[in-house]
């Protein structure tokens, strides 16, 4: 491992793709790009390409799934067969089912589910191309798609990961760094309320390293949140500028 991991951060302190340890991948977000869904968003974070669509709230189907005191939030995280190097079977895998649950639980605290009892909201996350950190990027877009659908929310949810690569704490790991590195800490945050909705850790970190990683990931969440805000507003600001000339 030591031989391989030496290559992850070079002598200048730069990573495989030329980033500094505390730098995000180049990120582009767009809101409202699907005509048939009630809300939608798209994110490109490095080589990640993820599409999210939201339907609802609508009458819960099948009916026995309706909850009498709140909305049922349903989430599907799915990777396209062409999203990874080796063709992935389109059937939901163990990992995808788990991520669907993780994403749902990260979004649930941000939505006023109690407003519309007996209904359901469906969130579909489609990973078109994956390069590490898809769960965080998925939460980021899914939250924007919900806002675009007009679902009442406490706050947007911004997510970002930090990890340990070559003994250095680094932000927003990509696939190779995730696999060769020694730890990964994904975090989802509601920035205005300063509340964490997702915190996971994969790998081994000392207490001090963990704290550093969490702080770095939170910083990353704030940067992602700024991009989210810009993307959500851009949809309406552009119309305004064109109309008013």
């Amino acid at each position: 491992m030591s031989q391989k991991s030496e290559k992850l951060i070079n002598k200048k302190g730069l990573r495989l793709d030329g980033r500094k340890p505390d730098q995000l991948r180049p990120t582009k977000i767009e809101v409202g790009i699907l005509a048939n869904a009630d809300g939608s968003a798209y994110i490109q974070q490095g080589k990640n390409k993820i599409l999210a669509a939201v339907y609802g709230p609508k009458e819960a189907h099948p009916k026995h799934l309706a909850l009498s005191d709140r909305t049922r939030l349903r989430c599907r995280y799915h990777m396209a067969p062409f999203s990874v190097q080796e063709r992935k079977s389109p059937a939901p895998s163990r990992r995808e089912i788990e991520l669907s649950k993780v994403i749902r639980e990260a979004l649930e605290p941000s939505i006023f589910l109690e407003y519309y009892p007996r209904t359901s909201i469906d969130v579909f996350v489609e990973v078109l191309q994956a390069d590490g950190g898809t769960r965080c990027a998925s939460i980021t877009v899914a939250s924007l798609a919900l806002a675009d659908a007009g679902v009442p929310m406490r706050d947007l949810v911004a997510a970002c990961a930090a990890g340990k690569v070559d003994g250095t704490i680094a932000l927003d790991l990509m696939d190779t760094e995730d696999k060769m590195g020694s730890a990964d800490v994904p975090i989802a945050l509601m920035p205005n309320l300063n509340a964490i909705t997702l915190l996971q850790m994969d790998g081994i970190l000392s207490l001090e390293e963990f704290e550093n990683a969490v702080n770095l990931a939170l910083e990353g969440c704030m940067k992602i949140h700024a991009l989210q805000k810009e993307a959500l507003k851009a949809k309406y600001v552009n119309v305004k500028e064109v109309a008013e000339e």
Binding site: G56, T119, L156, N192, L193, K229, A243
Partner: protein, 236 residues
């Protein structure tokens, strides 16, 4: 007790709008004496109330609202109507037929069948029960002609305009009869197809640019510009 945004500024969910002695209006919520936005929209202040006029929202039934819906199912004692809301509405047979009816004979589909459009009023609705409709008032009932347009329900007030200025202008300029459903469905009936299409175009433009200023003038201009074309067609 400061406020953090100018009037009519664009806000998104989670934005801190005001702190202290304010009350939370529509599409906002209060936590620890701080008011945050819960939807994307433009901010409005009225006295001490902070509210957000949502740019994207869905229709939530309210008692007394006039809605336009589609019949989706004929049951034994009434119809199920899709009113463009998270809940399906019920229209009872006893409300439509002013005479006793026998469910065994299945005569309901002769009165209203699946796919029919109705203008109706909401008479009952709460968290535990689906909305209940009535057609027993003048102007309500089955729609026989015209076309419908769907818009975001929160934009209905913008289409009406200040004291009805926008809607009466469109009615006058296009000569169409327009019925607004609170659920965001609009019925347009005109003498000619061209008139109806012009009204549809105007409504779509309002929906797209509802958050911009000087809209009524632009819509008037747009209608006037496209009208000479339709008049020329008549002559030829």
């Amino acid at each position: 007790m400061p406020t953090f945004f100018e009037r009519r500024e664009l806000v998104i969910p989670g934005d801190l709008l005001a702190e202290g002695e304010y009350t939370a209006g529509e599409n906002t919520y209060m936590e620890d004496k701080k008011i945050y936005a819960s939807r994307i929209g433009v901010i409005e202040y009225t006295d001490k109330k902070v509210s957000v006029v949502a740019l994207r929202a869905f229709y939530i039934p309210r008692i007394g609202d006039t809605v336009i819906g589609t019949v989706t199912d004929v049951g034994f004692s009434g119809w199920t109507v899709d009113i463009n809301a998270p809940y399906l509405a019920m229209l009872r047979a006893s409300d439509v037929l002013n005479r006793p009816f026998k469910p065994q004979r299945n005569e309901l589909s002769t009165v209203l069948s699946v796919g029919d459009l109705v203008i109706a009023k909401i008479v009952a609705y709460d968290r535990a029960h689906n909305p209940q409709l009535t057609v027993g008032e003048p102007g309500l009932g089955r729609i026989t002609r015209g076309q419908t347009v769907k818009v975001t329900p929160t934009k209905i007030p913008r289409i009406i305009g200040r004291k009805g200025s926008m809607i009466s202008m469109i009615k006058q300029e296009t000569g169409c009869h327009i019925t607004l459903g609170h659920n965001g469905v609009i019925l347009i009936t005109g003498k000619k197809l061209e008139d109806e299409q012009l009204a549809v175009m105007a409504i779509h433009k309002i929906e797209e640019e509802s958050h911009t200023s000087g809209l009524t003038d632009r819509i008037t201009q747009m209608i006037k510009k496209s009208q000479p074309k339709t008049k020329k067609k008549e002559e030829s």
